[in-house]
Amino acid sequence: MMGPGVAWYLAVSGFLFGTGALGVLLRRNPLIVLLSLEIMLNGANLALIGFARNLGDGSGQIFALAVMAVAASEVVVGLGLVVALNRKRVTLDVDRLNTLRG
């Protein structure tokens, strides 16, 4: 394997996951929370693909593709919720969205 070993990729993946977690916990705009969630999922994907290369097993790439499909579904539902909230003129603030009613 030319170039950096898989440990370097794992370092990038862990850092991405941490960055995304920070965004999910810190930000209050639900759109940016969704974007940070995408960063977390991509960090996990990078670890999966790194290990798939390291072990010479394609199953990790299959798992990464499944994660991508789940992420796309999650974005659809999340953006649907954001649009529905916007139509009701609710403040886009995840700390205020603490009830399921209405």
Binding site: G23, L25, L65, G102
Partner: protein, 185 residues
Amino acid sequence: MLVATVGNVLVWAVWVGAAFACLGSGIAVVSFSNPFYSALALIGNLGSLAVLYLLLSAEFVAAAQVLVYAGAVMVMFLFVIAYIGPRSDSPWMGGPSWQAAGAVLAAGALLVEIVVVIGLKASGQLANSEKITSAFGSPAEIGRLFLTDHLLAFEITSIVLLVAAVGGVILGAHARGGAEEVPPL
């Protein structure tokens, strides 16, 4: 020998560029106050991740990443952000300062946990990577795995996507029908 060394240096250079672009755009996504800029930074993040996937010889996943994520998902994101428009009542962050400190602490703890767990469980095996053939990560290989070893995952993925599409339609239709009679939160 010389060719191998030059190739190694080239791969390292590409890796360093892609990795730092990835980390920088990730931090940019979290720190921009305008969600439009955040979404644009995430497109950069996904593009540099696709370069890292290519270096890990995952050609099909890199192509799918660019097509599905940077193409479809991010276009949807940008449409919604443009539809909602700039909202002044959405603060960057808020709440008491102990919440922000707790968030930073929790994210840092998560990072340390990842490093420790991987270091403890896998540090011995990380150095020697398996030999792979040129078919590894190609569309043919991915398709073979999807339709033989991982057929159940493939079918469940299609159900998940169908349910998400139905959910999106229901959310949109419900918001249009009952906008007047439902009281605001």
